[in-house]
Symmetry: C2
Subunit: 150 residues, 2 copies
Amino acid sequence: MKKIYMEEALKEANKALKIDEVPIGAIIVRDNVIIGRGHNLKESLNDPTMHAEIIAIKDACKNLGTWRLTDCDMYVTIEPCVMCAGAIYQARIKNLIIGSPDEKAGGVISLYNILFDERLNHQVKVYLGIMKMECSNLMKSFFSELRKRK
Amino acid sequence: MKKIYMEEALKEANKALKIDEVPIGAIIVRDNVIIGRGHNLKESLNDPTMHAEIIAIKDACKNLGTWRLTDCDMYVTIEPCVMCAGAIYQARIKNLIIGSPDEKAGGVISLYNILFDERLNHQVKVYLGIMKMECSNLMKSFFSELRKRK
């Protein structure tokens, strides 16, 4: 677990912010190499599945030539939703490092505990709170700006 | 809710079967027109997110030019997993018609009840059991054939 990778995930989140997307970023790392990255592109691509985590998973799978991301870690700025938590276990990711929780919609620790569910065929180790303030503040400023505009 | 659309979803599932994918198919309908379709392509595309439901959602969004599939119904041969149940509520789908339940991994009625969760920002009406035997038998024959080969 390294802070430099959460900094990279924050760089991705900032890319989303610049194009008026909810600022969430994700990085996938294997053997100290970044093999996948993504930021939220739901509005830009008109596709509700294009969250940062799913884009990063698709990127990593393409780069590795397999859908099995065994021995890969994901760093994500905000707790994944139910869909993305599902995608993370489907991809067999080993460790998930989360910046800030999402109390309203999070599928990992807030509303559900999908990645710890032993009825499913894969479990993921979860670490929470790396650069929490930076990750959370980016979201807060985005939504505060959005409210001002309305 | 019309049987002809589940027959179309079964046609999609059969396309998956022919290329050795787990045979699951999905159709999205709005105003009696099929606007999205998909079958499982996880192995073919080396992408763990390429389940029938997500492919159908992406197809429908592309055709409608929006990520909001309000007033759209999905027909799917087998109960969606957690990831796909998440994608279905993210896409704001109105009604979900399921052929057969997935007791091991289903996110709608079997392991979780994600689409009825009032803490989330959208709920989906769910109908279960349309052409259940046909949908379930396709899966059974696929896995029985798989075991024979091993």
